[in-house]
Symmetry: C2
Subunit: 419 residues, 2 copies
């Protein structure tokens, strides 16, 4: 496992800067706050630096829940058929309690994107559905932005092998760390200041879109002709924002998107994915779906179609949209030319939409944010939230006003106007 | 980290046999049962084999909560002074819920026995007290034997360095694995059958002691002259036994002891420890205490006395006894001549007593097992349960009947009669 080997000094320093950024920019840990970290075992070096920075920032206790791809595979290899609907509800409930008691949430991503490739899709779907149900209370706390939270990435051998196929393991891991550092904007001398400037830019873009009050967006590109109604009182959000516990944090590192809530009943047309989607260990490629009244009525993929279909069958909300996000094609991640096969990165290289649960922070407060209010205003709800990429250098995005007036927003994948 | 390096084939095979024994003898996992494993990060090889055997035995989900000595140290180095009373109550409550929902409990021991040596004892004691309070609900489920549970050991570099000081890391780790395999009785071709025979032997010894119905035990040796009253309706237990969920399991691997419940108000005299006690990262050496009416009224140690005193101040029950156990000096662990600095091993090399919480399975059912019944009958209760070793080749143990009649049980550390 490369993460345990002696690492080149510039990688060790990058890991430390990334940990510092996750703690100070991502979470903005408050004195006395607990931190709950989830991470793959191979991320232990980053996690240890995160623990140091978190304690130095005043954290009272950092608890890391490590996941192990090997143990997950052992389940698929050895467990009895009738046990795949089981989830660790006790652990998910414990985490939810931790958040309710004020803990911050830090997720380290970086597991094998194709871990479950070749496993029985019905088992994958049953296990994943059980986990989604168990995690719902904790996910609701996160999606309602009750506490400060952050996702950050660690390079692991299994992931690196997919991004840099053919390279020796240590070369691939080093290259992936370098790509993560660049995308996460931690290569400069003062990442915290750099993130302040980047957040400022995203805040200006979101404010501009909020001032225009579009009723819908129109996406046009190869295989795509989609009109997305926006939820009543939708709010564009981007970069850092304030959680309900009063802490200003950056939920994603990296982040390049401004995003808001589409209306769950108002998507019409067809859309084709522009990058593969890695979903719980399966790659889903070349998704093509047709929307009618906000609902997916036709769905195809050239790879992983069975998994996609099962995802759509999770619940009624899984066939509707909970997020639309705009990302210029010239974003640093896109310019790296890499396909990360990890949503945190690939979604920030491309405009995207998400199946499933909406974020209530992407809705104005004045229309009410009770579950009934949110539903009435068009915000979707579901056990899942899955982003997939629909933007490219050939994508045009047009804002449509309540009066039908059209405003070009993106042409050829780039913003028409600077902010 | 040596546990991640390529390991010699005989060690790999031993780890697999140990994992199989932990699953089939230790836990006796039931089809469809969840398993909650706690382990140090360095135990990942053993944990992965445990996951495989557990799934193959029918487990529905194996969840491992990894602890990291490095992250624990980071807390002592960097966290603010005012945060050391914090514990992961959310996680302890989650585990307790898991047990109430039927999960089995497997603890892998093997962390650095001296991890917290040199840390501020007041901080150590505050953190440990907070953890004890948080863990109380889960511990009560375990001590009341509601579910099948097991503790088993993994060799880690930090532990191996203390058992084999001066050896190179890989040599020390290999030697420690070999010592663990021997002590855990997994070196033969059929460890499961070997454990059946060993359990039979321990059952016979416990039955013999139960038939005699002693009122007290008298320990005599260098620095020791102690009379321990036994609880009313105490029960001797040893080897495998049946948890309340109906599963017959072996809570400790290794185990060489027969043990029962002393009366919390009836210890008189003085006792000197015969081996160092490793308690949450601190070594406590040469303990000498004086009991009066079951309560420790004087306590000294040549090393770790401050930690010992803080332990005794945890609560009223921490100064009284919850267990007495008899182990012949000729036990395989004792014959290895090694000081493991880990209670699971050292307590099985020597007769011992435990401060704190009693095990209700060591009390007959007919006298009642409600907390009030147990207290009335003399069973101690406390946040802690800490075994320390008082037996040696010079220890004599005598059974005292209700009528004052004396029966020699052990002379020179050995059983007087075979069973
Ligand atoms: Zn997004
Ligand atoms: Zn999203
Ligand atoms: Zn014992
Ligand atoms: Zn004990």
């Amino acid at each position: 496992m490369a993460a345990f080997r002696s690492t080149a000094p510039h990688i060790r320093e990058g890991i430390d800067r990334l940990a510092k950024t996750a703690v100070h920019v991502g979470l903005n840990v408050r004195h006395g706050q607990q931190v709950i970290v989830t991470a793959p075992l191979d991320a232990v070096e980053l996690v240890r630096r995160i623990a140091e920075h978190a304690y130095a920032a005043g954290a009272s206790l950092v608890t890391t829940l490590y996941g192990d791809d090997d143990a997950t595979l052992a389940r698929y290899r050895h467990a009895p058929e009738d046990t795949f609907d089981t989830a660790a509800t006790w652990l998910a409930d414990g985490m939810a309690q931790g958040f309710r008691d004020g803990a911050a949430r830090l997720a380290v991503t970086g597991g094998n994107p194709s871990l479950l490739k070749g496993q029985n899709p019905e088992r994958v779907s049953r296990a994943s559905r059980a986990a989604s149900i168990a995690n719902r209370p904790a996910l609701e706390i996160i999606t309602s932005f009750a506490v400060n939270w952050n996702i950050v990435a660690a390079a692991t051998p299994a992931w690196a092998a997919e991004v840099f196929p053919g390279e020796p393991e240590d070369v691939a891991v080093t290259k992936l760390w370098e790509a993560i550092f660049a995308a996460s904007r931690v290569n400069g001398a003062d990442p915290v200041a750099e993130w302040a400037a980047h957040n400022e830019q995203l805040h200006r873009r979101a404010a501009d879109l909020n001032a225009r009050r579009f009723a819908a967006l129109h996406f046009k590109g190869p295989g795509t002709d989609l009109t997305l109604g926006l939820a009543d009182g939708h709010l564009w959000v981007g970069g850092s924002s304030e959680a309900k516990n009063g802490i200003v944090c950056n939920p994603n590192i990296p982040t390049e998107e401004v995003f808001t809530t589409p209306h769950a009943q108002r998507a019409e047309g067809r859309v084709r994915s522009t990058k593969p989607l890695s979903y719980q260990g399966t790659l889903i490629e070349n998704i093509e779906v047709v929307f009618k009244d906000g609902r997916i009525v036709e769905a195809h993929a050239t790879q992983g179609e069975d998994v996609l279909r099962r995802v759509l069958d999770t619940d009624e909300g899984a066939r509707r949209l909970g997020e639309v996000a705009l990302v210029p094609h010239s974003s640093p991640i896109s310019r790296s030319g890499l396909l990360f096969r990890n949503t945190l990165f690939d979604e920030n290289a491309s405009s995207h939409i998400a199946l499933g649960q909406a974020y209530s922070e992407c809705m104005t407060e004045d229309g009410g944010r009770s579950p009934e209010d949110l539903a009435r205003r068009g915000a979707n709800s579901s056990l899942i939230h899955i982003d997939w990429m629909i933007g490219s250098a050939e994508t045009d995005v047009t804002g449509v006003g309540a009066d039908g007036g059209e405003t070009p927003l993106m042409r050829g994948g780039e913003w028409v106007e600077a902010v």
